[in-house]
């Protein structure tokens, strides 16, 4: 088992009233799964991904990642954990504008203190694999949306994570580009990477092995 959420509650207080973002959520993920989270806007998809990605906390419940209790961890341990095992892919790509394609992909390795020669080899592999060797010295704003997302995925994969969290990865792309990206995810999944994606699109969700429906922060089992 890769991770397990038990009775997760997350809320914000507005005008003295609790508004539940996640409520009594139970969720298990095995290694090698490809899960799609679906639901309307505001149903808690992104919040759930952020909680799983340890970028966001929660008020109640337990979260175990690789048998380790995330909810009792200190910031530092938590960040060590996600640095090691989790890669993020965003709807808006979130590439760093000041860095070239090459440098964007390299950045996570820098924060893991990997040696220069090893970094070079890893980044070169990745560029090769995604067929973007020719674009390595370009800046993000010189690329199309699909290419930017490709770089985003390459960057997420560079640290060889066990889990990829993708928040509407194709939301800003046209249908042809989305299809390519989803195809890529499928291949990655077949290579053993666990993927959790949040999506609006039925066709994208169909790539996954399992679909989790959310409504107002709860599992929607209807």
């Amino acid at each position: 088992m890769l991770l397990e959420l038990k009775n997760i509650f997350k809320w914000v207080t507005q005008g003295g009233k609790r508004i539940y973002l996640l409520s009594d959520l139970n969720f298990k993920v095995e290694e090698g799964e490809f899960i799609s989270i679906m639901g309307p806007s505001g149903s808690g998809k992104s919040t759930l991904l952020n909680v799983i990605g340890m970028l966001d906390g929660f008020q109640e419940g337990e979260y175990n990642f690789l048998e380790q209790p995330v909810h009792t961890m200190k910031d530092k341990e938590r960040s060590k954990l996600y640095k090691e095992y989790i890669g993020f892919v965003f709807q808006a790509y979130h590439l760093i504008d000041e860095l070239t394609v090459y440098e964007n992909i390299e950045t996570p390795l820098l924060y893991k203190n990997i040696k220069s020669s090893e970094r070079k080899a890893l980044v070169a592999d990745m560029l090769d694999r995604f067929n973007i060797v020719g674009k390595k010295d370009l800046f993000p704003n010189q690329l199309s949306g699909g290419q930017q997302q490709l770089v985003g995925i390459a960057r997420a994969l560079i640290t060889k994570p066990k889990l990829i969290l993708a928040d509407e990865p194709t939301g800003n792309l046209n249908s042809k580009q989305s299809e390519e990206i989803m195809q890529l995810f499928k291949e990655l999944n077949q290579e053993g990477v666990t993927i959790i994606q949040a999506t609006h699109s039925e066709s994208n969700a169909a790539y996954g092995s399992r679909i989790l429906h959310l409504l107002d922060g709860r599992r929607d089992n209807t």
């Binding site: 952020n50 970028l55 530092k76 996600y82 979130h94 760093i96 504008d97 440098e103 996570p108 924060y111």
Partner: protein, 806 residues
């Protein structure tokens, strides 16, 4: 990793070129000027600290209780030093010290030099190393002198000076003396600066021998080195009996006149002034005190300027961080730790600071020459380059970089990942800090501007004040001559009498203000009048003194050639009338010195014969015809002053071709005494101009950012019908509020500081609110101009453009 940081840093700095340039320009100017100012201040503060014995060497002075209060005296009688050594424990070395000017003649050439008469131990107390000749006891023999390397080169060139004989002018005669040693040139930061040193015993008899047992003729300073293990306070305490013994008569007189004993019951207290403090001595109300305010103000201005520039940097970095939120969030998601982010952002600041410090260094280096001329200082990089100061400077720069560069970096690295990623930032906290910093910045600027205005007005007031004599039309010059001065004076009178441009000629033993010879003296005499001790300043004058200087005669007459008895007559000023307390002063007879009776023949209106920092003291004018005249006064016709001046010089050169003509108009002399004020004014006004420019750079940058952040808002407002002017007002008013607050904070501080400063002056302007309002309005106008540059542009923009981007 580091390479990556540096690369990103440069890309970021390049991307925001405008801000980077504004920051670098601001910081470079600030560092450059701060370097110069602190160099000046540190140089001044380092005066006399080069002596090896510093810390144990002191100047001996005395606080006397008189009927008018406590008065400090820095001069001592001839037998004082030896007696002190004999009778009071704790004197390790002691030397008398008196300076003067003299003429040296060698091989037909005459050199004007400054000289000092000292005791042999002088060379043990102070570090003026002998480089050639007799090193152990250079001034032991009569008729031998020690000269500085500079003078040795000037007189002898490459020849060996030791053993050579030069002619020294002494009491009108030329005496041959031998050069026994050469001492190293005295460092620039020395308050004792002489060319020639002689044994005080070899000075004229009228100075030395005749006063061997005279305890009432105070004519020189005394320096001593305190023995190990004795504190100055201990020493001062143990001089009690010494004073009581040797000054019994003075103390008795003081008691008779109603003087009050000091807190310890003494009427005379010998005190020790550390030598390193002696260049900061000021005499206020007769009392000696050490005042380093000017130096600290200058140092303070340097720091204020750096502070303002650093505030700019902090404000710009914080405001800019809003644009980098996404990057921060992304980096955190990719695993960056707080410390890694801090190092990255701080690194960018460090690059800017390094560039600014280096450029600032260059700036200071290029401005050094004009700076030295402007402030008449020999402060330079080398003059303050001791390891401690260099280390301190590096530490300062590092500290500023750490705080100014580190604070924004710290704030950015602390941001919450998710919020940063969503580019949501709680801006209130940051804005409050920004506002506080801007208020402080503008307060500083307003304080400096009002300081500048007050200083200018005071300086102008002092320059144009009616001093009670004609300073525009009178040239004074020293009679530096090997001939008999009174003879030269007569020759000059004869020459000038035929010149239609010259209205009147007179002479006196003293100059007004500070002449080009740079010498000043004062002669004060205390005597008994009707069983009461009174004191008066003395000036020996020649005929036509009052007439030449346009000094107003209130009663009686002035000296006149018709009356032979005028050599026993005196004229006194109003202050002296008051000192005497005489109803009918024209009937008064004064017994001065050796009970010779002088009668008062005239009363003159008070005129400022001394520095303007003192009021008009009681004064007696003599004309005994014997005292040597030191300065000639020539009153000339008011038109064509330059030509007339040249004419006077020509006459001098004809009569005395050997020495240089050092004449100048009296108003120039007065101006020279205001050197301190002038420097301070220049320094504070340049400081305030810089402060305003830097504050404006900051304001401009912030307005750029605010406008770009509120672009959408401006667009929407325009769409719903706001006019250009309402938008401009909207964008400007927040800043103006800050300037307003700054004004309210700055005015009381400026008022307090300037009024404190003005208290140093007997003659001073009145402070009024207008000065401070003017400073505030000036800051406001400049601020409005700076901001509106960008805001009007923003308000004029087509709203479609600004809304399109979203």
């Amino acid at each position: 990793m580091i390479r990556n940081y540096i690369k990103i840093a440069f890309r970021n700095l390049w991307k925001d070129r405008t801000f980077t340039a504004l920051n670098i320009i601001g910081l470079t100017t600030a560092f450059g000027i701060a370097f110069l100012l602190s160099m000046y201040a540190l140089f001044e503060l380092s005066y006399d600290r080069f002596h090896e014995n510093i810390g144990s060497i002191y100047k001996v002075y005395t606080d006397e209780q008189t009927a008018k209060g406590t008065e400090s005296s820095e001069t001592n009688p001839i037998p004082f030093a030896d007696a002190l050594r004999e009778e009071v424990p704790g004197v390790d070395k002691i030397s008398r010290y008196v300076t003067g000017g003299t003429l040296l003649t060698y091989d037909g050439e005459t050199f004007q030099v400054t000289s000092a008469g000292v005791d042999p131990e002088y060379f043990d107390i102070f570090s003026f190393p002998i480089v050639e000749g007799n090193k152990t006891n250079p001034i032991s023999e009569k008729l031998s002198i020690v000269i500085s390397r500079k003078v040795a080169t000037a007189i002898f060139g490459k020849e060996m000076p030791i053993g050579k004989t030069v002619m020294v002018q002494s009491e009108g005669e030329n005496v041959p003396v031998g050069i026994s040693a050469v001492f190293e040139n005295i460092p620039a930061a020395s308050s004792m600066d002489v060319d020639v040193i002689v044994n005080i015993k070899n000075l004229p008899d009228s100075f030395y021998k005749n006063n061997l047992n005279n305890w009432s003729a105070h004519n020189h300073a005394v320096y001593m080195k305190l023995a190990n293990g004795i504190s100055p306070a201990q020493f001062e305490k143990s001089t009690k009996d010494f004073s009581a013994l040797h000054y019994a008569e003075n103390i008795a007189n003081a008691k008779r006149d109603g003087a009050q004993a000091d807190a310890k019951g003494n009427f005379r207290q010998i005190k020790l002034l550390p030598v390193e403090d002696q260049s900061f001595v000021v005499i206020k109300d007769g009392l000696l005190s050490v005042n380093k305010t000017l130096q600290y103000i200058v140092l303070g201005i340097a720091f204020l300027i750096l502070f303002i520039a650093s505030v700019n940097f902090i404000n710009m970095s914080l405001a800019k961080s809003a644009q980098r939120l996404r990057e921060i969030g992304m980096r955190k998601t990719l695993g960056a730790g707080k410390s890694q982010l801090f190092i990255q952002f701080w690194g960018e600041s460090v690059i800017v600071f390094i560039v600014a410090v280096v450029l600032g260094g260059f700036l200071a280096f290029t401005l050094l020459k004009p700076f030295q001329t402007l402030f008449n200082t020999s402060a330079s990089f080398s003059s303050i380059s001791n390891p401690l100061i260099v280390f301190g400077a590096i530490l300062c720069v590092l500290l500023i970089t750490l705080i100014a560069g580190g604070y924004p970096a710290f704030m950015m690295s602390r941001m919450d990942t998710l919020q940063a990623l969503k580019a949501k930032l709680k801006v209130n906290g940051n804005n409050r800090l920004r506002n506080v910093l801007m208020v402080v910045q503008f307060s500083i600027a307003i304080i400096l501007i009002s300081g500048t205005i007050v200083l200018w007005q005071q300086l102008d007031y002092l320059r144009n004040k009616d001093l009670g004599f004609n300073k525009e039309q009178v040239i004074s010059f020293p009679i530096n001559t090997k001939q008999d001065p009174n003879n030269v004076l007569q020759l000059l009178r004869n020459e000038f009498s035929t010149d239609p441009n010259i209205l009147s000629v007179s002479a006196a033993d003293n100059n007004f203000g500070l002449g080009r010879d740079g010498s000043r003296m004062r002669s004060v005499l205390g005597f008994d009048y009707k069983n009461r001790q009174v004191s008066t300043h003395l000036i020996s004058v020649d005929y036509d003194y009052a007439e030449t200087l346009d000094i107003e005669l209130l009663e009686g007459r002035s000296f006149n050639r018709k009356y032979a008895s005028d050599s026993l007559s005196v004229m006194i000023n109003e202050a002296m009338v008051k000192e005497l307390g005489e109803e009918n002063p024209l009937n008064a007879n004064l017994f001065l010195g050796d009970s010779i009776k002088y009668s008062v023949i005239g009363i003159v209106k008070n005129f400022n014969f001394e520095s303007l920092s003192r009021g008009v003291q009681p004064l007696t004018l003599f004309m005994d015809g014997e005292s040597p005249m030191g300065y000639v006064y020539v009153k000339v016709v008011p038109n064509n002053l330059a030509d007339t001046y040249a004419g006077v010089r020509k006459v001098w050169n004809k009569i005395e071709p050997d020495t240089e003509f050092l004449g100048s108009f009296l108003d120039e002399n007065i101006d020279r005494t205001l050197k301190r004020e002038r420097h301070m004014t220049t320094m504070i006004s340049s400081g305030s101009i810089l402060a305003i420019i830097l504050s404006c750079i900051g304001l401009f940058a912030i307005s750029l950012l605010v406008v770009s952040q509120r672009r959408k808002e401006i667009g929407i407002r325009k769409v719903v019908g706001a006019s250009v002017s309402t938008i401009t007002v909207l964008l400007t008013k927040d800043f103006l509020k800050l300037v307003g607050i700054a004004f309210l904070i700055a005015t009381p501080i400026a008022w307090y500081a300037t009024s404190k400063w003005l208290e140093n002056y007997v003659y001073r302007i009145d402070l009024n609110l207008w000065i401070f309002l003017a400073a505030g309005v000036m800051a406001l106008i400049i601020a409005v101009l700076t901001i509106s540059f960008r805001t009007i542009q923003a308000a004029l923009k087509n709203p479609v453009e600004s809304l399109k981007t979203e």
